[in-house]
Symmetry: C2
Subunit: 186 residues, 2 copies
């Protein structure tokens, strides 16, 4: 009886692969166990429950997106940086549509997810710095960005747009009107 040498992170990785290959609904302990070459109850040595595994997957996905954000913003500023963030968001969701379905939309309400959520927020706040918005305006501005990015990405990844034509153009229009809503910056 050789040991499989699992770890919590290995189980999370297998879970992400299951999601990528068979969709978010196919994330079951049985499927993850099978992919790990292990019996289902053995997974409980590494994760507390299916619900906890889903949270861990959420953490992983949030961090991946935060990484893309950080990479996209690096070396850019102002309008250029925001545009890069928006495209990074859409590109991540397009590359991993099933992962987006398990990305929690309210990370700040869960302690295990908050850190990953805050990482994303900080990158956006930094990119908005040139506009010198006051606190209230900054809240509304980040919300508007989020609505646009999440709204578009969730519809696109779920096949919500009837025709797939010219989606780049639609997204660009949304980004353009977002900039129109901002005061001109220094």
């Amino acid at each position: 009886m050789p040991r499989a040498g699992l770890s919590t992170q290995a189980v999370v990785q297998a879970a992400v692969e299951v999601i990528d290959e068979h969709g978010a609904d196919a994330l079951t302990l049985a499927a993850v166990a099978s992919r790990c070459g292990v019996a289902a109850p053995s997974l409980y040595k590494h994760v507390g429950s299916l619900a906890e595994l889903k949270i861990q997957v959420g953490v992983r996905v949030l961090h991946e997106l935060a990484d893309r954000f950080a990479a996209a913003a690096m070396g850019r500023s102002g309008q250029d940086a925001i545009t890069a963030l928006m495209h990074a968001y859409r590109a991540y969701v397009a590359a991993h549509p099933a992962r987006y379905a398990v990305m929690p939309v309210d990370p700040l309400h869960h302690p295990a997810l908050a850190a990953a959520g805050i990482r994303q927020l900080e990158v956006i706040q930094a990119a908005l710095r040139p506009w010198q918005l006051d606190a209230a305006a900054q809240v509304h501005t980040i919300r508007r960005l989020r609505v646009i990015a999440h709204g578009f990405a969730s519809l696109e990844s779920a096949g919500g747009f009837g025709l797939p034509d010219d989606l780049d153009e639609t997204y660009q229009q949304l980004i353009d009107t977002f900039f129109d809503s901002l005061p001109t910056h220094s």
Copy 2:
């Protein structure tokens, strides 16, 4: 053994009530059967499967929202009509957050859902008529509206906004910037 007198629509109604009371994840045939005062297998006389029931619930919810749309647009035109539609959308989702989680985002891709989806679309097209957009511009404009409404509503209903303050203001800003993106109409 008196008869319960069920029907497909009664089962769908019970399913909606289960969703309203216990969330979208609690929609199970066992729960619906219990609410109908019937054993679970009896439901199969009225619905083909749980998956089919979910689609029927989707149809019901799409039609409810289309009704709200039609009511909101009635007697209004132009900017006034669009504003009313956007508020109707948000109000419906706020009143029935759990139903929104089961509302299909790609109704046009499923024959049973398409009719309900098209009803919504037609109301929006009518409201946009004063701007006399050409076909391509109309597609992008409706997509932008949908992104804003769905993005905001899905985040709000899922508790995605960290602080609940001033959400009216954020939504109004989104609507305002949408109008800024339109040409001035007759």
